[in-house]
Symmetry: C2
Subunit: 449 residues, 2 copies
């Protein structure tokens, strides 16, 4: 029987980060990563293999990241775990003994059971599966009209990339706006304007009722009775955690199917951790259990699990997901972290909000200057930042990380108001009207009254 | 006599931020900004009027920022202050009464007295003076060869912009590397490589001894006896604070000529504050008095002064400059905050450093992917971040702000290691190898041993 001190099951972002961090922190321990895929796609890069990149071969995570870090890679499927004997059986008939186990088994796209026609030909999902996606890319070449169902960020990115490759693309979202879990209406509207300007047709405010066709899809019908013709449907309506392996091993699973873990990312078994899409997470702000699946959350969870494998640390805890992410539509970037105004109100927070619209270069006459908008959601009582949303040029992708850092450390707008912010004509907003600071100033002003 | 509740003297970044923040926090107070310039240039944008922009008219700060904020603008020079009667005399013969005064009088470029030839024709400095710079731009049109003295960021930016406009440009820096107050050799070398690849000739490691010529400049001689022919010399060897007005009013001035202030940015007179290039500042880390002149420092000082004008706040203090800034050379951005490794060692800190080199898109096959390097300087004892340096594509401009935020809040690498970082293929480094986090991980690993 093979033996390893640390066994990580799963080869996507969470697994890679868990394995490499474990090896970095516990250099004298052996670390093995086992995964069933021969090649792994950059998960967030998947939409881009349909437009920006030529093929999925350009979207691969290099295995060198593992070997350079001293992690042993084994290609095989984990088929069962024996927690008592601390072994994992694999599809090649062998077993691997471990001292500590990290489950990073990921998630699988959902085809809703209630959706009539979901099993017709040319109805697709977006799994993290290179072979499936390569076939999908070939099939899509033959189609003129494509409907994408679900206006979360994967749906938005897929729609934009398919448009880029020359198709007639319609994006359907049940909620009044796309990206509405991350953005309030004011910024979601900006995203919609840009998508439409880029040629994507939007159908918001009415969900899909059924997919039409007898063998192949011919169209869809919305809840408002509208019908659309299409050659293909791409469903991006959610993912479910891959937790069967954990469940069979007797680990606790929550109501949404996620593996239960504590703030060390440890299951009730002190030798077994779970991270990433398969692991239970709470909202950092609202404290409710959340089905969030994002690389930002996974990465932090994986680092925290790895650091706590052999020695618990009271300062290296996972305090809950702030659901931070960013996306790009053309040259525009959108980012969000923490709660939206809508969600904060719904959950009963007494909040103040402020939105400042500025520019991301200075003077604004400089080439490639773009609008930059920052919205902040702040606790009225304490001044603590609860959420932020940004839109701008590509630098807004990093800007949201500063906002996320303030949120995660439960800091107040005062921490922003006293901050020294590096600015430069060709790189950032002006020092006199840096939108993040101006929005904080607007909040501080409101708190005085 | 005119009267205003708050009088701000100086119309550049610090003055604008002080005036607009004062009006925002104390809406019922009248705020007046007085400046001698009819038009104000974006100070950090000055180098770009020599290449990227067509003329200085494109580099103006719009006065609407003041009027929209409810600040009264008066164009006149402040010629004396009477602290006892709380009045300011101006060049137009009138006086302005004030309740609170903010001095934001800025700085003036230095022509070193010891430098022979500094007063020859075609020897220039870079003041924040539109008329001077407009004349300089016209003069430069007639020159083929230009030597820039001083490889700080203004010298680097000027050299790159002049090269862009087609000249033969040589940049002279006394220290072994350009930008060496902000960067250790490893990153400074990258900046030098890029400058040279863009056609700028570098002369580092030997300062200027004298400027040659009888009436007009004909060349320069370096300390190592090397001579260079040139049609013009641009001196960017430092600025001195404009503190004569304050000194004449009896306010205390430090040894370097800066107006003395406390952590509220208040002088010993409780009704007079000073901010920006003219105000004394300490290093946040080393606690020594520093002649730092940066918009990042000025902006924070101005906000802090404004917020404390009528009511001191114990949470809105200026803790010292972290000298955070960023600059661009072509498509590459460089940023720095806090102390370099060199300076930290020189001052006696027991430090650990780590440098991680990654990419700023993922996968790296995406168009416009650039190298991204992060260096961290950390206190060994506490894990607290003392300094950071970054190089990358344009997003590195915002990345340094997150590093600066960690430094200013005296947070440790653990705060980074547990951080949720939003990443996106088209906008940022990968979640599995985000250079800031990887560098923090390298530090944490070193701290275990």
């Amino acid at each position: 029987m093979e033996k390893t001190d640390v066994l990580v099951i799963g080869g996507s972002a969470a697994g890679i980060v868990a394995a490499t961090t474990a090896k970095s922190f516990y250099a004298d321990k052996s670390v093995m990563l086992i995964r069933k895929e021969t090649q792994v796609l950059v998960p967030c890069g998947i939409p881009y293999i349909f437009g920006t990149l030529e093929s999925s071969d350009q979207g691969l995570v290099p295995d060198a990241a593992l070997s350079n870090a001293g992690v042993t890679l084994k290609i095989a499927e984990a088929i069962s775990i024996d927690p008592e004997n601390k072994t994992c059986k694999t599809s090649d008939g062998t077993a691997i003994g471990f001292e500590k186990l990290v489950l990073a088994t990921g998630s699988t796209p959902v085809k809703p059971a209630w959706l009539k026609g979901a099993d017709l030909e040319n109805v697709y999902t977006i799994p993290k599966d290179k072979e499936y996606l390569d076939n999908l890319k070939v099939s899509l070449d033959g189609f003129k009209k494509v409907v994408v169902i679900g206006g979360g960020f994967i749906g938005v990115e897929m729609a934009d990339e398919l448009k880029k490759s020359g198709k007639d693309v319609t994006l359907v979202e049940m909620m009044p706006h796309v990206l509405s879990l991350a953005f309030d209406a004011e910024l979601a509207l900006k995203a919609e304007e840009i998508l439409e300007a880029r040629g994507v047709t939007l159908k918001t405010g009415s969900g899909i009722r059924e997919i039409n066709g007898s063998q192949k899809v011919t169209g869809i019908t919305l809840n408002n009775d509208e019908t659309l013709e299409t050659d293909a449907v791409i469903l991006s309506v959610g993912y479910r955690p891959n937790s069967v392996l954990a469940e069979k091993a007797g680990l606790k699973i929550n109501d949404m199917g996620f593996i239960r873990v504590n703030e060390y990312m440890r299951t009730e078994n002190p030798d077994i951790f779970a991270v990433g899409d398969c692991a239970e997470k709470h909202s950092f702000i609202t404290r409710t259990v959340k089905p969030i699946m994002l690389a930002s959350t996974s990465g932090a969870e994986a680092r925290i699990a790895a650091m706590n494998l052999f020695k618990l640390s009271t300062v290296r805890l996972f305090g809950g997901t702030i659901a931070i992410f960013c996306t790009a539509i053309g040259d525009h970037a959108f980012g969000a972290a923490g709660v939206t105004e809508n969600l904060a109100k719904e959950r009963g927070f007494d909040i103040l909000t402020a939105t400042f619209e500025g520019i991301d270069r200075h003077p604004g006459t400089l080439p490639d200057t773009q609008k930059q908008i920052v919205k902040l959601v702040v606790s009225r009582e304490s001044g603590i930042l609860l959420g932020g949303e940004v839109m701008g040029g590509k630098s807004a992708g990093e800007l949201i990380n500063m906002i996320g850092f303030v949120i995660q450390n439960r800091m107040t707008v005062d921490a922003l108001l006293t901050s020294q912010i590096g600015t430069h004509p060709l790189l950032t907003a002006p020092p006199t009207a840096y939108p993040l600071i101006k929005a904080a100033e607007m909040i501080a002003k409101k708190r005085r009254h």
